[in-house]
């Protein structure tokens, strides 16, 4: 009897040890998988970073944004801080002395790269363009705008600013045309029988939603692997928070964007203004190959008679000198690329000024004399 019990004990112990080894090995393998994936992607191996938050570019203290029934949101009128100031219609000041909309110059409408995310009023590229050309440049760009909101804002401001040239700034604006909510609810368009049909106007006010998986998401955000795969395959779920929702709608972003560019061109032409598309890209995109989407957008813009200024070739060429390239962007703690730095914006202003002069756009539109 005793002998039999002795034989059974090692077996139970073996089972227990076996399960313990399985548990420990599973944990070790999960950690190993995370480290291996980081190593494969050249990420810091042991950093306890919130990778999800790092993909979100925050504009310091952004209480300057308010809900708008047509555009989704806009900058507040006459907002004042040490670095971000607006006049009527939420237009950003270029200089402290700007008090009202100065008609007859250049109207810039775009997303945060044109608005000047993370830089002071005078350091945005529209402000620096005004310094170079010495003609009024109205910075009506707003962070987070898709080409849909950009189109509606151009139509809204054309009769007020009576510009000679309209500059349409895009960095992420093309991708956002297939979202009905990009943080906050926004207007969007679909194509029905090749005609643009607007939706979500008047835009509802942003509402709060509770996520049962909020805590789980916060923990998972520290995994480089989970973050990387969620960003690629489930961005709307991954980036939505209780007060910021991301919702995608069905649609072909290229076709919708092309139709919107055509609408912008028609509206500008009716106001005797020339339209120019200023294409910007994220720092990582400028390091890589030019994306097919951007080429398609550039092509359809040209087909409807819009001049295109694309930063890609100039900035991609600078990438051969990493120090010079890195100076063009505001960079995160881990070296990730954010908005453009004052120096980067200066370069964009110089590229835009050169192209506008080279193409004769300023002379033809009457904004500059021969």
């Amino acid at each position: 009897m005793d002998l039999q019990r002795n034989k059974m004990h090692p077996s139970r112990r073996q089972k227990l040890v076996g399960r313990l080894v399985l548990l420990l090995m599973s944990c070790a393998c999960l950690v190993g998988l995370e480290i291996a994936y980081r190593a494969w992607n050249g990420a810091p191996l042991l950093a306890l970073t919130d990778w999800r938050s790092r993909r979100i570019l925050e504009f310091e203290a952004a209480p300057f944004v308010e809900h708008d029934r047509l555009l989704g949101w806009k900058h507040q009128d006459h907002f004042t801080t040490s670095y971000f100031n607006t006049i009527d219609f939420g237009i950003r000041k270029n200089r402290p002395g700007d008090q009202s909309v100065r008609p007859g110059g250049i109207l810039v409408v775009g997303d945060s790269f044109a608005s000047g995310g993370d830089v002071k009023d005078g350091e945005t590229w529209p402000a620096q363009l005004e310094q170079i050309l010495n003609i009024p440049v109205i910075n009506a760009a707003v962070g987070g705008y898709g080409l849909d909101s950009i189109t509606l804002r151009i139509e809204q401001l054309l009769p007020i600013s009576r510009p000679k040239v309209v500059l349409v700034g895009t960095a992420q604006a093309i991708d956002l045309v297939v979202y009905s909510s990009a943080g906050w609810p926004k207007p969007y368009f679909t194509l029905e029988n090749d005609r643009l049909v607007e939706h979500n106007i008047p835009v509802p006010e942003p509402a709060s939603y509770e996520h049962w998986f909020g805590t789980l998401k916060q923990i998972a955000s520290h995994s480089y692997l989970i973050n990387d795969l969620m960003v690629r395959y489930a961005p709307t779920v991954w980036f939505s928070e209780s007060d910021k929702q991301w919702r995608k709608v069905k649609g072909d972003k290229i076709k919708i964007s092309c139709a919107l560019l055509n609408r912008i061109k028609n509206a500008s032409s009716q106001s005797n203004a020339k339209t120019v598309l200023v294409m910007q890209h994220g720092g990582a995109d400028n390091l890589g190959n030019e994306m097919e989407d951007q080429l398609l957008i550039a092509r359809c813009a040209q087909e409807v008679g819009i001049d295109v200024i694309d930063e890609y070739k100039t900035i991609h060429a600078i990438a051969t000198n990493p120090t010079a390239f890195n100076e063009l962007y505001i960079r995160g703690a881990a070296g990730d690329y954010g908005h453009m730095s004052p120096k980067g914006n200066r370069l964009i202003a110089e590229i835009v000024a050169k192209e506008l002069r080279h193409s004769g756009s300023l002379v033809r539109s009457g904004v500059e004399s021969r």
């Binding site: 090995m25 949101w73 945060s112 961005p235 990582a284």
Partner: protein, 46 residues
């Protein structure tokens, strides 16, 4: 030394499956990591 090796061999049914799963998961993750990132960065405006 041989005792340790024997021990490791005895518990291979406990440590081998997680390693195999990890290798397969790594290969799948690398394959999936080629999917395009639609929004390379997000602008938080509020």
């Amino acid at each position: 030394m041989s005792k340790i090796i024997k021990m490791i061999a005895a518990y291979r049914s406990a440590w081998l499956p997680p390693i195999i799963v990890m290798i397969i998961a790594f290969a799948i993750a690398i394959f999936l990591s080629h999917g395009r990132i639609e929004l390379p960065f997000l602008y938080r405006f509020t």
